[in-house]
């Protein structure tokens, strides 16, 4: 049962004392409840995307051995609000030579395409706007509205940089849609459904129940999905559409003030969508370890609400971790060249993701689920994951230690400065 459906029915029953099945105005109650849900989703986007811009800049500061914005509010945590208000108060410029209808319509399309994807994101056990039967395909479909919007912005601006940015963006987004779709196909094969809740339900709360550790092909699919998600979000190292050093800002160069903000908004929220899709498809989604979905559904009263809140927190936590990884990648890797970008997609990711989907299919046909081989595979993949994590921590520590003594000798201070100590 859809939570909004349930709430709207409840509203009709309690407030108007009518039976929702026969009451002629039930659809108004539905529309109101869904509209409120959409506003809540928007609030989530705003509250998430805003501070993440600040956090990204602080992380960027730390990675580059500097401080980052810390003036607005304690530790600069209101920087995003200041930026937003500033953009709102900025003049709205339309180039005289622009193709006005297209120029004005583009932010609507970009934002709508981004926001539409929130319909199927399962934030919690029952916290989902609509569990579409075509969930994953739906996300792929609404994202294409963004592509058209970017192209529209690029063309409508009548600026060379904007056009290059828009065209590059469109080419990049459509190219990387292919590997991301094939990586998700591996998940769909495993789950046997396209619905996002169904995919989450096919996994479990513990890491060995997640799809990413099920078999090597899914592990590879996860990595490939993550790469193509970064590319679809126009993030470094795939941020050619807005390469500052080449085409200044790309498709949004002629936009100012609020219109510009909506492009940025869409970009930041897109990052969250990509992380959320990776979470729900590969990392177990909102699943609480040790608690089965049936138990959540059967719970009553505040227990039910508590489980929902916990599952929501788990989902957001996993997604945020991925968002942080995307941010870290942005400040680590250099930008690709345009030919490298296309080669990475068509020569590497497309065949390999098709291969991983094929591998998953063959494993499904050959290996009995829950059998000994299956469990050995899961254990091996979990071990591989742990080994990679261990190697990572060791490497980070070694890199740090290599510079620590030198720093002490030269500066007379300790290099150690943990992330929670905000400068």
């Amino acid at each position: 049962m859809n939570i909004m459906h349930y709430l709207a029915d409840l509203l009709v029953r309690s407030l108007f004392k009518a039976d929702p099945a026969t009451w002629p105005y039930t659809w108004i109650a539905y529309a109101v409840v869904i509209g409120v849900g959409a506003l809540l989703a928007f609030a989530f986007v705003a509250i998430f995307a805003g501070p993440v811009t600040w956090i990204e800049r602080r992380i960027a500061g730390r990675i580059q051995s500097r401080i980052g914005p810390n003036r607005n509010g304690p530790q600069g945590c209101l920087q995003w609000l200041a930026d937003g208000i500033k953009c709102w108060l900025k003049e709205d410029l339309v180039p005289a030579t622009a193709d006005k209808p297209l120029y004005l319509a583009a932010p609507y399309l970009v934002f709508t395409g981004m926001f539409g994807a929130f319909v199927v994101l399962p934030f919690g056990a029952h916290v989902i706007a609509a569990d579409l039967n075509v969930g994953l395909l739906y996300i792929l479909a609404v994202t294409s509205l963004v592509v058209v919007g970017l192209l529209m912005a690029g063309w409508g601006s009548n600026s060379k940089w904007a056009l290059f940015g828009g065209v590059r963006s469109a080419a990049q987004l459509v190219s990387y849609e292919v590997p991301s779709a094939f990586s998700l196909m591996a998940v769909v094969l495993m789950a046997g459904t396209l619905s996002t809740q169904g995919i989450v339900g096919a996994q479990g709360g513990w890491p060995w129940q997640w799809f990413v550790f099920r078999n090597p092909f899914l592990f590879a699919a996860f990595i490939m999905y993550f790469i193509s998600a970064i590319a679809e979000g126009n993030r470094t190292p795939f941020d050619l559409p807005e390469a500052e050093s080449e085409i200044i800002a790309g498709y949004n160069i002629e936009y100012s003030g609020m219109r510009f903000l909506f492009f940025l908004f869409a970009e930041w929220a897109n990052m969250w969508i990509m992380a959320a899709v990776a979470t729900l498809a590969f990392l177990g989604g909102w699943q609480i370890p040790g608690i089965s979905p049936e138990r959540i559904a059967e719970a009553k009263g505040w227990t039910f609400v508590g489980w929902q809140a916990l599952s929501f927190a788990i989902f957001v936590f996993k997604g945020t971790c991925l968002v942080f990884t995307i941010i870290q990648i942005r400040w680590t890797l250099p930008r690709l060249r345009v030919d490298q970008l296309m080669i990475t997609c068509w020569k590497y990711l497309v065949p390999l993701s098709m291969g991983s989907a094929t591998g998953v299919l063959l494993l499904m046909a050959l290996v009995r689920e829950g059998g000994i081989v299956d469990w050995v595979m899961r254990g091996a993949m979990l071990l591989v994951g742990l080994l990679v994590a261990g190697a990572y921590i060791r490497k980070v520590r070694a890199t740090f230690m290599a510079d620590r003594d030198n720093y002490k000798k030269m500066e007379g201070r300790d290099l150690w400065y943990p992330p929670y100590r905000l400068p």
Partner: protein
């Protein structure tokens, strides 16, 4: 199902309304000081030269072409992939039909990709094989 799709419709409408409302409210907050210099497009501080609407690298077109083929493939294989699990779970061995079918589909598409790859159309800046090809 119609309920689900009405959710989609309302979400899309609400997001468009949010954009419109924010821009409309901004009208009362932002200055409006039109100026011919501001209305110029940005070209690194120089006066813009000509229109931006000229032809660009046709390779973008080729990428879109290849993409459509793959897009159609994705659209066709996703429903099959959805039911493949159920087919494999059957005990009568019909699951292999699904496996073989998807594999065949993939192989044919990969052959197409290999052809394009072999022709060098996937290389963004194609290497010139002979000086005669020079423009």
């Amino acid at each position: 199902m119609h309920f689900e799709y009405s959710v989609v419709l309302i979400y899309l409408t609400v997001s468009a309304v949010i954009v419109g409302l924010a821009l409309w409210l901004g009208r009362f907050l932002r200055p409006n000081l039109p100026d011919p210099q501001k209305a110029q497009i940005y070209e690194c501080g120089e006066r813009p030269i000509g229109s931006a609407w000229f032809n660009f690298n046709p390779r973008f077109y080729l990428i879109a072409l290849v993409f459509i083929v793959f897009d159609a493939e994705i659209a066709l294989t996703f429903p099959v992939a959805t039911v493949a699990r159920g087919w494999i779970a059957r005990s009568d061995g019909t699951g292999w039909v699904a496996v073989v079918e998807i594999l065949l589909f993939f192989v044919i598409l990969l052959a197409a990709l290999a052809y394009v790859w072999g022709k060098g159309e996937l290389d963004w800046s194609r290497e010139l094989t002979s000086p005669e090809e020079m423009p």
